[in-house]
Assembly symmetry: C2
Homo-oligomer: 354 residues x 2
DNA sequence: GTGAAAGCGCTAACAC
DNA sequence: GTGTTAGCGCTTTCAC
């Protein structure tokens, strides 16, 4: 170490100057730091330090899709905000790791294998997505948000099925008997389409699956039994897609009297479609959103929606993961179900008289 | 290396199995990889590899404020989106490094010093902010977005002064003679306040400073000279703050006939304030935004605004920085001024007759 | 196609 | 308080 030589001390002492100020005469420390500055020494090399210490002071968050999508989804951004807040609070840096493209393979494997992290947060991945295996093979602590649920791996999310059921029941209790669903993508392929209600198929995203199951559970508890839920699967979570979905669903006869959207973004698009079709909300059509984002409060009319805080869930993930990297994992951390709540506003009401 | 021993080869061969598949009999490679899997060997340790190679395959983006603010600012998110897209395209991971709190010191120093990165993108920092010094001391390539402008360090941004001047000139040409400004924070302290136009003070953020200068330049070229620009400095870049700012500014007598906001977010808030005060836009009041975000197109009325693409600027930063980490810096990369354009929509018009 | 040797830069034990 | 020694795990010559 050239700095050490310049001052005439050992490398240990230089190291101490940076890491254990107490173990050093203040004057000497000052002398070392000054010499370092003069020699252009930028301080201990982080990679070397990490190697030696076996700790990097950073965690990663893994996405199975291109970051372009991630940053365009307000809820993903909320989650990131919570994650970032949580990591910062623990003096940890956040790394963002993602598949380059939507199919979730390309490049992500090597990015993931090379990422210098103490642990990983996994953002909703399909059950047998290759990245799940790769993440586990990294042999670092994991926390999973939303999907999949893995044995022994801490999980953070909400009870999507119960929440979906509550949303649908709200509509059924208002008297609706013809509901349709604007659904998130079923899998990473992201292909917008009107799903044949007869053979819906099984979404590979657990969250989407659970929500559909919840909607269905509510419907099937009713007598007379409402028709199968007409479902439109969007490709992207934004108002435009919600608009398109609502237009498609509202073409059916009999026209659905209520729309269950899996996000406020989609619900806002549905409101726009209703306006376009001269349907008054909630008089002619009820719309339920999901998340209780800012949009739910400012839309016209304000949305009935399932409230959850992705921000809090992000913080929770960060806290859990960082604890795990310190070897602190309690059994009760394995399943963290965050609270949710059905918030009723003016976008839902009784169905129009027949 | 235990894997090497298990297969009966040298560490070199194992390394080759991972890094140079060609230099190896395929059968042997298979045998090695299988053994690795069985032994639970997670592949080459990234920290060790980075140390050895002198490359980490990751860059950092540095913020001078808490990430909670960053992720709540749509334009910062757009920038991140571009940055993420750009890094992913170059097989690089993005790290997010930030001061824990608004004063930009706490914790950020050690986070920054420890971050394992090949380079840093700096997001608008005041001229003599401590993080600027710390970033330079890291001795890795830097790219700066927005502020400050540093000798020999690549800079990405737009000509804020010219754009601001164009925005103000647009209003002046329409006949407005009483303009007021809803300004971004002057410095990292983030304290909302109505600034005394007589002694505005000098914003430490270059971008804010340049825009104010541009507004003023336009005003002072006019005869008769309009009054000093009444200015409200917001604490946070969101519609609520814009609303508050507009209310404060519109209390003045004579009431300004046009508002120059430094973001669409703020402008949208101003529109809400106008509605509240029963001022029709643009009949009674003109409003100009900045950025041409989605909000500018969907607001009522749609906003006249200064269009720029933070997404593109983010991509540019990523590309420039990654090139720099490969030692490729061309002189013409030192100053990258991105395009901007004044987009006129329905939020601006002639001032009301006296 | 494979191996031996060296060293990336650092810090934790331990001795003085 | 300070120094010596060892080794974190890897990859890269270079020789065979």
């Amino acid at each position: 170490m050239t700095v050490a030589r310049a001052v005439g001390v050992s490398a240990t002492t230089v190291s101490n100057a940076y890491n254990r100020p107490g173990k050093l005469a203040p004057a000497l420390r000052e002398r070392i730091l000054r010499a370092a500055r003069e020699l252009g020494y930028p301080g201990p090399n982080p990679a070397a330090r990490s190697l030696r210490r076996g700790r990097t002071g950073s965690i990663g968050v893994l996405f199975g899709e291109a970051l372009t999508y991630v940053f365009q989804d307000p809820m993903a951004v909320e989650f990131l905000r919570g994650l970032a807040e949580g990591t910062a609070r623990h003096n940890t840096v956040l790394q963002i790791i993602a598949a380059l493209d939507a199919d979730g393979q390309e490049g992500a494997a090597s990015l993931l294998a090379n990422a210098i992290v103490d642990g990983l947060v996994v953002w909703s991945l399909p059950e047998r997505h290759p990245l799940v295996r790769l993440a586990r093979e990294r042999n670092v602590p994991l926390v999973i948000h939303g999907s999949p649920r893995l044995n022994g791996v801490p999980f953070v999310g909400i009870d999507d099925r119960a929440a979906a059921q509550a949303a649908a029941e709200h509509l059924l209790q208002l008297g609706h008997r013809s509901l349709a669903v604007i659904s998130h993508p079923f899998g990473p392929a992201r292909h917008a389409r009107h799903r044949d209600p007869g053979k819906l198929g099984r979404p590979s995203y657990r969250v989407t699956r659970e929500r559909l199951a919840g909607y269905r559970a509510a419907a099937s508890a009713i007598n007379p039994f409402p028709a199968a839920l007409d479902t439109y699967e969007v490709a992207v979570n934004n108002p435009d897609e919600g608009h398109r979905a609502a237009r498609a669903l509202l073409r059916a006869t009999p026209r659905p009297t209520a729309l269950l959207a899996m996000s406020d973004q989609l619900a806002v698009g549905a409101l726009a479609a209703a306006r376009e079709l001269d349907l008054r909300v909630p008089h002619d059509l009820s719309v339920v959103g999901w998340d209780d984002s800012a949009a739910a409060r400012t839309s016209d009319p304000p949305l009935t929606t399932v409230r959850q805080s992705l921000y809090e869930q992000g913080r929770t993930c960060a806290g859990l993961l960082i604890a795990a990297t310190h070897g602190e994992v309690a059994a009760h951390d394995l399943l963290h179900l965050a609270p949710w709540q059905l918030v009723t506003r003016e976008s839902t009401g009784s169905p129009p008289p027949k």
